[in-house]
Amino acid sequence: MTKSARSRIFAKIRHSSRGATAATIREELDSFGKAPAADLPTPDTATAFLANVLKNQGTVDCAANRTDAVRAVGQYLYQHYRTHRLVAGNDSRLAAMPWRDAGVLPRFGTAEGNEPAALSYARLGVAETGAVVTFTGKANPAANNLLAEHHIVLVNCEDLVGDMEEAWLRIRHEVDRDGRPRGINFIAGPSSTADIEGQLVYGAHGPRGWHVILLGYMPASALEDARALAAG
Amino acid sequence: MIEERSNPQGHTRQPTVALFVTCLADLFRPSVAFASIKLLERAGCSVIVPTQQTCCGQPAYNSGDYEATTPLAKQVIAMLEPADYVVVPSGSCAGMICHHYPRLLEGEWQQRARDLATRTYELTTFLADIAPLPRSKVKTAALPPVTYHDSCAGLRELDIREQPRRLLREVCGIEVNEMQQTDVCCGFGGTFCAKMPEISAKMASDKVHNAVATGARILTGGDLGCLLNLAGRARRLGETIEVRHVAELLSGDLAVPAIGEGN
């Protein structure tokens, strides 16, 4: 039955098709050039990224090194939960963090139904949208993005890209090396809904808190400038 | 800016403007056409009014009767082509000629439609951009505050927004009190208002209420279709705001009763 649907559909489409060769099709597609992207609010990628995360109703922090990063995670947890419970994927980069310094020891695995907080190490951060990019897999089960009340995400400064087109260049590079992940997730804010009377409410199904910690070298004023940009 | 044309003998002459009166002005509001002639002459044009004109064909066209519209469109094109310019005191009829005739017609007629479209203007655009209307020498009596209804076809097909406001300011010395949601349709839509009267009435009521809320005493605009609809709805709602075509305001012709007003 479905086979016949397939051949019927293809027959009908071929009838309306130009019948061009793959090379001609590719050439035409390439001739369209790059799509216009949104301008960054400021030339510095790190500042622009942080500003857009804030505009997405995320909270941000910066860390110069891994010790600062775990400390920032601990602080956020304590601030919201007075607890140090945390789940994180089996990410070798997360495993190698100096957790003892912050008094936090994540459970490495998959988030369950009612987890207070989950931690991800993003592959990329996209300044244009203020989004972090994660791949599903052992290092970051998709449930970790979705089931916890709070989602904390670490991003390296050197993994920031300007726009979505740059993001795909980087993703292609990783996919060519490691194969296609099951899922590629761009996350840009806490879960939200406006389905009742158009009123925006956070924590619809997924995390109600979304905290991004940018790790590495960035301008000293990045955080302050980002806050000013997001407020203005 | 208008260019003086050379006639075959090489003498420069005033440009001739054919006035396309529109069927609604012809039938319901001749004062709009007379005001238009006055304004065009004041702007230095030699105005002709082709007497064979009737309607641009929108009623049939918008109802999807392309077959009945096509010969009418050709007739209008043939009648108007000889003039240097065609001026229409209506955004929707001008839009019909400029946008929809070329879409409707094919081949040679499409070419002729396109050519005519390059020389066809809605009245306020023509007076603002092509043949600038000089300031009136006669001091017009101070007008009460007005608000302007942007007709959809004029606004979106012909980009008419600033032109009438500029003329009202510069020629009549009045500012327009802007209403909320100026870019939303008044619910006229040609046959729409009779086919779907309740929906149309809701849209017209919203428009009337927005106009009244500005405190303006006159609601003006460039399209009689919308204005007849709004005047009719305003009267039904018991609102006393006057409804007048912008050509009448610009020419200072306020002696005639407003649309839908008694003698």
Binding site: T2, R8, I9, K12, I13, H15, S16, S17, R18, A20, E28, L29, G33, A35, A37, A38, N90, T136, K138, M164, G179, P181, R182, I184, N185, F186, I187, A188, P190, S191, A194, I196, E197, G206 | L27, R29, P30, G64, D65, A68, Q75, A153, R156, V184, C185, F188, G189, F192, A194, K195, P197, E198, I199, A201, M203, A231, R235, E261, G262, N263
Partner: protein, 478 residues
């Protein structure tokens, strides 16, 4: 609540009869364009991006056989099952078979207009499956037993108070406070969380299918689609052929306009690409994944003059900007798709006979085409459908004959001017005192709602002939 397109006028009248709902529709109609415009203004590249995307989508539709074939190959090599369905019935059957093969009982469903189109949930429930709509808006209307009133915000016609009453009636959770919207959301979150965790099968739609790598793109703010896509052991993606785009970049470029057009956000919270079942080293994700690709007249539309309609990305901007949609409300259309895009699609997907009124629900105001991120000339397509209505003799004969007669008369100026020179002065005399008529024979459509302004003394042509004559006389005297 079953509504029909044939009853559009009655439905609209009924909707306008509820002042509170009409007021709320008006507020949304003022608010949604405002946020969309603000978003586009700060983006600043609406027109160039719209042109770019139009070229890409046009190119994709021109070469759809190539891209569909490519997508299928990539999706298969990603480990998916790929099914094709000619019509909604076939899609529903395929999905049910998959569910039954897995002995599934509980289905968690993401928001998908395609499955609204095929009536998938009803079909599965009819076979005894327990289907939960997980998008909050969809969940609300599922509980209320209503169809969506908007393609993006399906429950926007409901007030918070109505949602509260609904939840109190449908959720057996004892006494509790539900005054705030946030409390309502919180309650739905709790109820639905359990459904996600228990589901045997997840069903989602797709905002795009990427031909080069066989991924599907899903965008949500709630994250419900992602929960459906990741937690249950079986995932079924239901979508239509025209969602295909060549490259991943094209999908995210489209997002720039889609989200700004839909909600005024620069992007959604979750933009997710899914390729297939879990990989060998993965610890979560579905074990089996299916694509069901539906035609349902898309190939007919592709071959027709309405091809541009296949560029629609379902953002809902045309609904938000349509004053007729605002007045009548989404339910009045009696169709899955409503507003301008719906009035084009419904006749193409169902039949002109049952929905020919919808293309008439348009004043050609052009606001929809102005904001359409795909640049679809919606008023032109609606007018073309009215032509089809005319040709099929579906419009009222009185109107058809009247308009034909008017056009014929307009081609005979002497007769036209002669007749109007008789009628207009008469009408003037009858109406001059009051200035307008509150009732007029043959103009009932007009005068039912508004007065009919009386004409000035004569027709212009009559008066002008007089002016010309007087001028001639004067010249002769000079």
């Amino acid at each position: 609540m079953e509504m029909h397109s044939q009853a559009f006028l009655e439905n609209a009248r009924e909707a306008l009869g509820d002042p509170e709902k009409t007021r709320r529709r008006g507020l949304l109609a003022a608010f949604t364009p405002m946020v969309r415009n603000a978003a586009m203004e700060s983006f600043g590249k609406f027109e160039p991006l719209r042109q770019h995307l139009r070229r890409v989508r046009q190119h994709t539709l021109d070469n759809l056989d190539h891209y569909l074939d490519r997508f299928e190959q990539e999706a298969l090599s990603n480990g998916n099952h790929v099914h094709f369905a000619m019509d909604g019935e076939e899609m529903n059957r395929i999905v049910l078979e998959i569910c039954q093969r897995h002995s599934a009982r509980r289905i968690a469903k993401g928001k998908s207009m395609v499955t609204e189109e095929t009536g998938l949930s009803r079909h599965l429930q009819g076979a005894g499956l327990n289907v939960t709509e997980t998008d909050l808006g969809e969940y609300i209307i599922q509980q209320a037993g209503e169809p969506p009133s908007h393609i993006v915000g399906p429950a926007l016609h409901k007030s918070a108070a109505e949602v509260r009453d609904l939840f109190l009636a449908r959720h057996d959770l004892g006494e509790r406070e539900l005054e705030e919207t946030s409390q309502l959301v919180q309650e739905a979150r709790g109820v639905l969380r359990q459904r996600f965790l228990e589901a045997d099968v997840g069903i989602i739609g797709a905002n795009a299918l990427v031909a080069e790598n066989g991924y599907s793109m899903l965008v949500t703010n709630e994250g419900n689609g992602d929960l459906c896509a990741n937690l249950p052991p079986v995932l079924i993606v239901c979508t239509t052929l025209e969602r295909i785009l060549p490259r991943a970049e094209d999908a995210t470029a489209m997002m720039r306009l889609l989200v700004r057009s839909a909600t005024g956000q620069p992007h959604t919270c979750y933009t997710s690409f899914y390729s297939g079942p879990r990989r060998e080293q993965d610890t979560d994700g579905p074990i089996e994944t299916h694509f069901v690709l539906l035609d349902d007249k898309r190939t007919d539309i592709l071959a027709s003059d309405y091809r541009e309609m296949l560029q629609c990305i379902r953002c809902g901007a045309c609904l938000n900007h349509c004053p007729i949609y605002a007045a009548a409300g989404g339910h009045a259309y009696g169709a899955v798709y409503m507003g301008p895009m719906g009035s084009v699609l419904t006749p193409l997907l169902t039949s002109l006979e049952e929905s020919h009124l919808l293309p008439n629900a348009c004043t050609s105001c052009g606001r929809c085409a102005e904001v359409c991120p795909s640049g679809i000339p919606l008023p032109d397509l609606l007018r073309d459908l009215r032509q089809a209505e005319q040709a099929a003799k579906l419009s009222p004969p009185r109107w058809r004959t009247g308009l034909k007669l008017h056009a014929w008369l307009a081609r005979h100026p002497r007769l036209y001017h002669g007749l109007t020179a008789l009628g207009i002065p008469l009408l003037h005399r009858l109406g001059r005192r009051r200035g307008s008529f509150s009732k007029l024979p043959l103009a009932g459509g007009w005068t039912s709602q508004r007065d009919f302004p009386a004409p000035q003394r004569k027709t212009f042509m009559q008066a002008y002939a007089g002016v010309l004559k007087a001028e001639k006389k004067r010249r002769r005297h000079d």
